[in-house]
Amino acid sequence: MSIELATLNGQSADRAARDQSPLAIRGMTVSYGQKPAVFSVDMTVRPGAMTAIIGPNGAGKSTLLKAALGIITPLAGTSTVFGKTVARQRDWIAYVPQRASVDWDFPTRVIDVVMMGLYAQLGLLGRVRAHHRAQALDCLARVGMQDFATRQIGQLSGGQQQRVFLARALAQQADLYLLDEPFAGVDAATEKAIIDVLKSLRDAGKTVVAVHHDLSTVAEYFDDVFLINTQAVAAGPVADVFTQENLQATYGGRLAGAQMDSLSAATA
């Protein structure tokens, strides 16, 4: 086979992979100043799976997500959703930012934040009707926060804030959910509530991608894992990829030996 033909075959295979993937990132490079935070990363998310993006602090996990969504402008690279650009597929994507990224003293109530998930549906001037409000309350109920609807958001605990953000994403009725550190600094009850909701989304055929930092729960929570340290290290099903060698390659010397042993014992 000539080289040209091999390249063409490779390109058409990749085109097929991108067309079928809920989130396909190619050649993504983001830099703050002269040092790349994410360098030439390819990622193909499997539809209907829960994928964890794992890597040490400063490895570019959140940056990769933000660049894929166009929140920050990448230096190079593309991201597609079922083969089309992200901009054309916004209605099918729900993003849950880091909790600390907003000011929780903002004058708004819990129900108002969830209603933001319906803004795309409401348009600029659409009236908020009873069924919209019922939909928002239903999303709050799914994260166990229905009794908090009229509270000011500043009165919530960290875990409750995170669940409100998740409820807002649920209100969008998206097919692809991208979460940035959803379990950071939340209580055990919230962690369980969130993982239950995410698993129910997955079971309903949706795709979930989360930046995750707790290695001990990866095997329990996720189907696939994507290991990154500025560059992509490994990707695939947890059982195949979440191995000691790959973690060593991702974290370098930053992961203590004992921690490593307990992790590989958990995955074995």
């Binding site: 916004r90 209605d91 933001m116 803004y119 001037l125 991208l178």
Partner: protein, 421 residues
């Protein structure tokens, strides 16, 4: 004539009752010009209050200061150009057009400096504000040397001058106010989203940069039309004080916009009326002072967020803590040493002066212990999360849970527990 006492002067001065000028001003009966100014100032105050709200919520309130100071060179240059073209140079539309152009340039400088260079926005604002203003003063000085320039009265734009306000000026203000309200109504959702959570806004397809520009455009329009009444140095107060005032009264974005518009309108109306009633008092500064008075009242008196309310709340909370601690100590027969606790218990007739609990004191202490046990169950049970979030160790459990729920909890309290082997 016999018996005709001269009326003392102080009585005569009482008889010569002062005309209720302020009342006339407030009811728009103080002449044509005063009426125009009052209506114009009210509209301006409303537009500024509504337009400034999103700037405040986006935490970019000081950008308005850069915008307003950047209008000055535009005013001067527009005057020079109009005179050079053989015109009068004092056409308000022309001057405001010039102001808008140079304010827009200043705005672009601020946003370019803060996004494309390593300068933070506050530094960019400081640089643009002072340079544009300095340049504007130079231009005004040049105008002073021109023949046509001396009577131009361009200094009026610094602090506002309402003398000789025309019907057309008021019409411009009305138009600008209507435009501002319409734009804010149209863009309320994107603006709220961009102010609260810009990352999420971008991810859900909003063009946050464009929304920010629209917000700045609204502020720029308000600033430019407000130059005539309040002047460029003080217009920033009208954009910032009303939303800050409104924030004290509500926890909802839409209500902040509404209350801010009302606060701005009231400031403009009352301020213009006062300055019309009292001779030689400038309009703009009085409007700002009325706005400040509303702010000060809100700061002190607003429920929940006001200073007075948080002071009272803190004190009553402190007393409840002391009382509760005292009751729990009584229930466990521990001695109470703290003076405030003892005083509160005595005053509520829960202990006798010699420190022995009264009957009602013993009952309350037992109830406190029971509630404590109930609360520990509520806090351990995820299904009571909403109630548990309000737990402060003090609130009577009956106010937060239904009788059924309490019965259920009491059932668990009484349930036989396993005896450890």
């Amino acid at each position: 004539m016999v018996g005709a006492w001269p009326v003392p002067r102080w009585i005569r001065s009482l008889q010569r009752r002062p005309k209720p000028v302020l009342f006339d001003a407030l009811t728009l009966q103080l002449g044509y010009n005063a009426t125009l100014v009052t209506i114009g100032a009210t509209l301006l105050g409303m537009a500024a209050g509504v337009g400034g709200t999103f700037l405040f919520l986006r935490k970019r309130a000081l950008v308005s200061d850069a915008i307003s100071h950047a209008t000055l060179p535009g005013i001067g240059l527009a005057f020079i150009i109009m005179v050079a073209l053989g015109g009068d140079g004092r056409s308000l539309i022309g001057l405001l057009g010039g102001a808008a152009v140079s304010a827009g340039l200043g705005l672009l400088c601020v946003s370019w400096l803060s996004t494309r260079t390593r300068l933070a926005e506050d530094a960019a604002i400081g640089a643009v504000l002072s340079v544009f203003f300095g340049f504007g003063v130079v231009v005004l000085t040049i105008i002073q040397t021109m023949n046509a320039g001396r009577q131009a009265g361009l200094e009026g734009f610094l602090l506002g001058s309402t003398a000789g306000m025309l019907r057309s000026d008021a019409a411009i203000l009305a138009g600008a106010a209507a435009l501002t309200l319409a734009l804010v109504l149209l863009l309320r959702r994107p603006l709220t989203l961009a102010a609260f959570d810009p990352e999420y806004a971008t991810a859900s397809g909003q063009n946050v940069t464009r929304n920010d520009l629209a917000m700045m455009g609204i502020v720029l329009a308000v600033t430019v039309v407000g130059l005539k009444i309040v002047g460029l140095i003080l217009i920033v107060a009208l954009l910032i004080i009303p939303p800050v005032t409104a924030r004290f009264w509500t926890e909802r974005t839409d209500h902040v916009v509404l209350i801010s518009g009302i606060a701005g309108g009231v400031s403009g109306y009352v301020g213009a009326a006062i300055s019309a009633a009292i001779p030689d008092v400038p309009t703009g500064p009085i409007i700002v002072l009325v706005g400040f008075a509303l702010f000060a009242l809100s700061l002190l008196l607003a429920p929940r967020r006001g200073v007075m309310s948080s002071f009272l709340r803190h004190r009553s909370f402190q007393r409840r803590v002391h009382l509760r601690q005292g009751l729990l100590a009584m229930a466990q027969s521990q001695p109470i040493y703290e003076g405030l606790t003892l005083r509160l218990l005595r005053r509520a007739d829960l202990v006798r002066p010699d420190g022995v609990p009264t009957n009602s004191g013993q009952a309350r202490a037992a109830k406190a212990m029971l509630d404590e046990a109930r609360w520990s169950i509520v806090r351990g049970d995820q299904s009571y999360e909403a109630a548990a979030a309000l737990y402060d160790g003090l609130t009577d459990i009956e106010t937060l849970l239904t009788p059924d729920q309490i019965t259920e909890i009491d059932g668990r309290l009484a349930a036989p527990s396993e005896v450890p082997a």
